[in-house]
């Protein structure tokens, strides 16, 4: 089974074409973001100097930030820096943007990963189950519940979750990644609290981190669960109506083997795409949950930069999001080749 294109000139030009497409996409993203940023009514200079500043101070900072230069010069300067690996300094934190992202990204990755495990781990079996029990009461219940999960605004679900599971029941921690007195106790080797605390053998911190992760991850996962369940159900229904399913049953194959071994195997490819895209969406868009749960993640970081008008930081964030989605797309293309012999 060959996964890679042969290193012939045709293969190389295919790779080059793909690389070219990626670069054009990323460049387009940056141009669009930059343009939007300049048109938005946010003023990073005002954020720094404050409401009461006099015009002289304002002008001073305006020039310090290079905003007096023409727009295309500012953009070109940014691109030039990026090519040299300098992603700029955040106006909000005074730190290099790359460093900021490295510190907030693990928090979001932890959240998104658990959310997608929850969403896919429950959503896929639920979708299969609903498809198998089509039009029976089970199916209806599943469809209604997932519709609710999809329609309820996530910040509302988040707040209700906090009120019920934190304030009333006291089962989970309330906001933040970890309780205050555990903060800083575990050395941040990877930035992932669960991994770091496990590596350090500090199980109290591990339990506390899980305690804080469970609620936001479940609520975030609920939204993708709804989507994944419905798509799985839909794909499965497609398969279950096909002749080979009836044939397999007639030939004596058990129901379980038929469903999971054959029908499900045929939708793995489509599911991979769905889950990959859902994961990408979670990585860049969990800002509402991050706000409700005071989770110091990438979504909050990027949003706050936008609200302050820190365009250099925003563009670096957008670049990262673009890279994430492109990578996920490539990965799922690759998995396509693994799962589906017909595409080889």
């Amino acid at each position: 089974m060959r996964l890679t294109a042969p290193l012939t000139s045709a293969g190389l030009s295919a790779i080059a074409r793909q690389a070219g497409t990626i670069l054009v996409t990323l460049l387009g993203l940056l141009v669009l973001t930059f343009a939007i940023g300049r048109m938005m009514p946010v003023d990073p200079v005002r954020a720094i100097v404050g409401e009461e500043a006099d015009p002289a101070t304002y002008q001073q900072v305006y020039e310090e930030l290079g905003m007096d230069k023409p727009v295309y010069v500012q953009f070109a300067t940014y691109l030039g820096d990026v090519v040299r690996g300098d992603f700029g300094t955040s106006l909000r934190t005074g730190q290099p943007v790359a460093q900021d992202i490295l510190s907030v990204m693990p928090a979001t990755i932890e959240l998104a990963t658990f959310a997608i495990l929850f969403g896919a781990g429950i959503g896929i079996p639920l979708g299969v189950w609903a498809a198998v029990r089509k039009n029976k009461p089970t199916d209806h219940v599943v469809r209604v519940v997932t519709l609710l999960g999809h329609s309820m605004p996530i910040f509302w679900t988040g707040m209700i979750g906090l009120i019920v599971f934190y304030a009333w029941l006291g089962w989970v921690g309330g906001g933040g990644r970890v309780s205050d007195f555990y903060d800083g106790m575990v050395e941040p080797r990877t930035g992932f609290l669960l991994i770091d605390s496990a590596l350090a053998g500090d199980w109290d911190v591990f339990r506390d981190a899980v305690n804080h992760l469970v609620l936001p991850a479940s609520i975030l996962g609920l939204a993708s669960l709804a989507y994944i369940t419905r798509m799985t159900r839909s794909f499965m229904l497609d398969q279950l109506t096909q002749e080979y399913v009836t044939t397999a049953r007639v030939k004596g194959l058990s129901k379980t083997r038929t469903i999971w071994g054959h029908a499900f195997a045929n939708i793995r490819v489509q599911l991979v795409t769905i889950v990959a895209l859902a994961y990408g969406g979670l990585l860049e868009g969990a800002v509402l949950i991050e706000t409700v749960f005071s989770w110091p993640g990438f979504g909050q970081y990027m949003t706050n930069n936008m609200l302050t008008g820190d365009m250099n930081a925003v563009m670096t964030c957008v670049l990262l999001v673009g890279v994430i989605f492109i990578t996920l797309n490539l990965l799922s293309d690759l998995l396509y080749k693994v799962f589906d012999p017909r595409t080889r």
């Binding site: 304002y58 903060d183 409700v292």
Partner: protein, 533 residues
């Protein structure tokens, strides 16, 4: 369907977490929650807004400190005494013995002079307090001198009430004394340590920085070599909690000790909660209705007077403003020198209609009213819209973000506006008046965007002169009389800004805290707090 291995694992995971979370803060650590979106830097010369002041007040000391209870009082801090020269042209501060920075370096007059000079040279937000009184980077060397290691002399570049300067040096930001040796060791490219101070501290206060994760938390750890009474708290953890409801839940559960950025409805609910106290006291500034006198209708004093009687002061303050503000109609804060009681304006539609008719608008007119989309601005604007309509003034509300509302005000491109401001962090009437009424140059070219008077195109040379004269008057009784006369003239002349509420600082905290004294100039001393457990 059989339970998959995945399902079992998930159930096990959920089971292990169903342990009650530790729901009480430690006895010797204070946990404080507020929104840190305005905290862009921790360099005292560059901060803006109140939240950074809350943080830095516990890390840096000044020559003096503004008293939390008595707004007119200034307490000794790094300076144990000071005196004004008989000619009123300079102030001499005597530093106390034995004060050291957290680094161990001694606090010397040279550090004070360096910090003040740096403030003027960087010329960022906090420099404006002293720039108003003629201090600049160029005259800093002459204005701030250290005749010996324990004496600092501040020479005034132009006549001003010396008590204003003393108060200014008590404000966190301009008055913060930095460890010059430590900062210069970490300077880069002649930036006077601006980059390093973004994330490090160089102060002499009760605490020093242990860490700052932007939009996550700031951790302050106790300075055990503090020159005064050290704090009972070994750490203060300041957490970024942007959602007010989240702060409320955590206060109720005891996961945080103090919540600084709670919204009105949450404060109301917490005031009924056992174990939580809510404090609400006058802060800095006012909520007001502003008019642009560039508009010919609003340039007419009778129209402005009519607007004065179309605000339902009692109704707005009773229904909309609890915890945000309390009724106040004069442009000088309660408790400041010379503050007169309210003139007693009320909603009076008949009077307003008569005034409008006199001005030539018997049927009212159409106009726009800008307000921030947040509470309580939008509700106040809606209430005002309703009362304006009773006199035939149809106001269209334009809502938006700070940039859209105050930006338009800076461009002098608005008609009516509900806003908040008016100085007051410096507890002196000059701070209020200069922010709200003073305008030395009404031309477009002047671009005095830091004066609301200029933004609203209000120009009254007599008031300008009176404000300048009151600031330099040395006889206290006479000075008081001058500020009273100014308020009376304001009532007669009907300026462009009518306050209807003065800002209240409202904070909720766990009832077992003792020694919590909210400071109206934002620099609350958290190190003085103990827990009665």
């Amino acid at each position: 369907m059989r339970l998959s291995a995945r399902g079992l694992a998930l159930a096990a995971l959920l089971a292990t977490t169903a342990i009650p979370a530790f729901a009480e803060t430690p006895d010797d650590q204070l946990v404080v929650g507020f929104s840190m979106t305005n905290v862009l830097t921790l360099d005292p010369a560059a901060i803006t807004g109140r939240e950074p002041v809350q943080i830095l007040a516990n890390v840096y000391d000044g020559l003096v400190a503004l008293d939390a209870k008595d707004r007119a009082k200034v307490d000794p801090d790094l300076a144990e005494s000071w005196e004004v020269a008989p000619d009123g042209k300079s102030i001499t501060f005597h530093l106390r013995e034995g004060a050291t920075f957290a680094s161990g370096n001694p606090v010397t007059a040279a550090d004070v002079v360096w910090s003040l000079t740096r403030l003027m040279q960087l010329n960022l937000a906090q420099a404006s307090f002293l720039k108003t009184h003629g201090f600049t980077a160029e005259n800093a060397a002459a204005s701030f001198t250290a005749p010996d290691a324990k004496t600092v002399v501040v020479t005034l570049p132009k006549p001003v009430d010396p008590s204003v300067i003393v108060q200014t040096l008590g404000i966190v930001g301009p008055g913060s004394v930095l460890d010059s040796k430590l900062v210069l060791e970490n300077e880069a490219d002649g930036d006077l340590g601006a980059d390093w101070l973004n994330t490090h501290s160089a102060g002499s206060g009760k605490f020093g920085f242990e860490g700052w994760k932007a939009n996550d938390r700031v951790i302050l750890s106790r300075n055990d070599d503090y020159w005064g009474e050290p704090s009972a708290m070994k750490r203060i953890i300041m957490r970024h909690i942007p959602e007010s409801q989240n702060q409320r839940l955590m206060l109720e559960k005891g996961d945080i000790d103090i919540g600084f950025s709670l919204a009105g409805p949450d404060l109301k609910a917490l005031s009924a909660e056992d174990g939580v106290e809510v404090i609400s006291q006058p802060g800095s500034g006012f909520y007001y209705l502003a008019v642009s006198m560039k508009d010919e209708r609003l340039a007419n004093p009778k129209v402005r007077e009519a607007l004065r009687y179309l605000i339902d002061y009692q109704g707005i303050n009773a229904a909309i403003m609890p915890y945000y503000g309390q009724e106040h109609q004069r442009p000088i804060s309660t408790g400041f020198l010379g503050a007169l009681p309210d003139p007693g304006y009320t909603l009076d539609v008949a009077k307003a209609k008569a005034l409008l008719a006199e001005a030539g608008y018997p049927d009212g007119f159409e106009i726009t009213l800008r307000a921030l989309a947040d509470a309580p601005f939008m509700s106040a604007a809606t209430a005002i819209q309703a009362t304006l309509a009773q006199a035939g003034i149809e106001a269209e509300i334009i809502s938006g973000s700070g940039e859209q509302i105050y930006g338009a005000m800076r461009e002098r491109d608005f008609e009516l506006l509900v806003g908040r401001g008016g100085g007051g962090q410096l507890p002196h009437p000059d701070s209020n008046l200069r922010a709200l009424v003073y305008n030395p140059d009404n031309s477009d070219a002047a671009k005095l965007t830091n004066f609301q008077g200029w933004r609203t195109s209000f120009y009254d040379p007599e008031l300008n002169a009176a404000i300048d004269a009151a600031l330099v008057e040395t006889d206290p009784a006479k000075q008081k009389g001058m500020y009273e006369a100014i308020q009376e003239r304001i009532a007669a002349v009907v300026p462009s800004i009518q306050p209807f509420s003065e800002v209240l600082d409202s904070v909720a905290y766990r009832a077992d805290l003792e020694g919590f004294a909210l400071n109206p100039s934002w620099g609350t001393d958290l190190g003085a707090i103990t827990k009665a457990r």
